[in-house]
Symmetry: C2
Subunit: 266 residues, 2 copies
């Protein structure tokens, strides 16, 4: 593990870190190719939103960028994780009045399965885990991720690649580690209040001019979808070929979004 | 900080611990007096429920008991925290197939304010943070506690001791670190689906024979309550003297429950 903790090489944090005690943290998982992260500004924007909401003073993004350069090999694809936790201190749930956050920057190898999944697609299940749209920190990439971990364990049990998580009203909300996009007629539909506001979707919206219709669909309408996609900032655009008994083709929308992605991103 | 990590003195954990990355952990906060924890069996029962749900294999409770004895001074009151995290490993949200949990046992001084709060009561506010009753891990004391931390920060801002958190339907659910009990006529009312199933309430129910009516009350009915109490396993039974503009007396029910508590607990 190659890690910088508050700028120093190391791999240990104090066990009174509030990220460990309460999941009081925000993080970003960022794709790097040959030392460059094309989605960097969007990741930094989301980190800033989360930091502001959790009142974690953010380090200068230039410091974070420098630490990534310091850690990463010059060539190859890697996934960097930047975690900003609330650090040590406070009294139980009551945080320190002046939070001194702890930052952890680490990276790991590019996941083997991404390229193959981009080509051949993923098999999903409907998760028994639902997500709460009333959650006040909805949309932020914070450190409270037990819903996603539980849904991932279900997938391991049943041999699926990913899962569809519903909102409390039984509507299609999100995959475990990706936003879900449903192709319904000529519209690209995605949940209006995602659990994690996806940087990959942001880029397709802002830079590639794609128009997503914010709409929560009941799960019964899956059969009307001509394509289903999962999108996240690292794995990019991947086709969904099955959700339980429903089958979906790898269609022209998927291949179009992938060509936009591949032209500029990793 | 006096800490045992997997049985060894230390204060650092690896920064790839899944408790740190995702809040993938369960924990207990346990009152000890002169080396004894009267609520120990109830804490161990909740830890076992949480561990089973999160698939964290539990250490023998005798090991945990021995580690508490090893750490704690023989005399005085202390608060022990036992954390069981999912340890290192896995691939993003996807956990290790065979989780090897990490256990952290630590203690801190008895909180100064408890004795005074038991006598004189607490001032609460209505939190803007709501809790989700549809959460699949509801009732467990797991490491995803951003709602509680956010509500605690609100209290720091507004100068309140604690807060009332509502459920998604706007009904009275819980305090930040305690269950809430409302005295309505001759009934003791508490939410049927608490975010954390309280060990203090369990004891009052099972050992002291108290009968709690599981009922979710709309916040408008606060004005009908003759007393309001906050109860947790460490601070015991504390009277609530105000929730925003509502005032409550410290009444006979509070003093009765306190006398039951003080006769056998810490």
């Amino acid at each position: 593990m190659n890690v910088l903790i508050d700028g120093h090489r190391g791999r240990q944090i104090p066990c009174d870190d509030r990220g460990f005690l309460y999941g009081e943290s925000v993080f970003e998982t960022i794709a790097f190719g040959d030392g460059e992260a094309p989605l960097w500004p969007l990741h930094m924007a989301r980190l800033a939103r989360g930091g502001a909401q959790l009142r974690l003073p953010l380090p200068e993004t230039e410091i974070l960028a420098r630490e990534c350069r310091q850690l990463l090999p010059a060539r190859g694809r890697f996934v960097v994780r930047i975690t900003l936790s609330a650090g040590s201190g406070g009294r139980g749930y009551w945080p320190e009045e002046n939070t001194r956050p702890r930052r952890v920057v680490s990276y790991r190898a590019w996941p083997d399965q991404i390229d193959q999944q981009r080509r051949c697609g993923l098999r999903l299940r409907l998760s028994t885990i639902s997500l709460c749209t009333a959650e006040p920190l909805l949309g932020l990439k914070h450190g409270n991720r037990l819903a996603q971990v539980s849904a991932a364990r279900e997938c391991q049990d049943s041999g699926h690649d990913e899962a569809v998580l519903l909102d409390s009203a039984g509507q299609i909300m999100e995959a475990i580690s990706s936003n879900l996009v449903l192709v319904l007629g000529d519209r690209l539909v995605t949940h209006p209040r995602p659990a994690v506001a996806g940087v990959g979707l942001d880029w397709l919206r802002a830079e590639a001019g794609m128009d997503f219709l914010p709409l929560a669909l009941p799960v019964g309408r899956l059969s009307e979808c001509s394509e289903v996609l999962v999108i996240n900032s690292v794995a990019g655009v991947r086709p969904v070929i099955a959700i339980d008994q429903h089958r979906f083709p790898i269609g022209p929308i998927c291949r179009h979004l992938q060509s936009l992605w591949n032209a500029q991103l990793i």
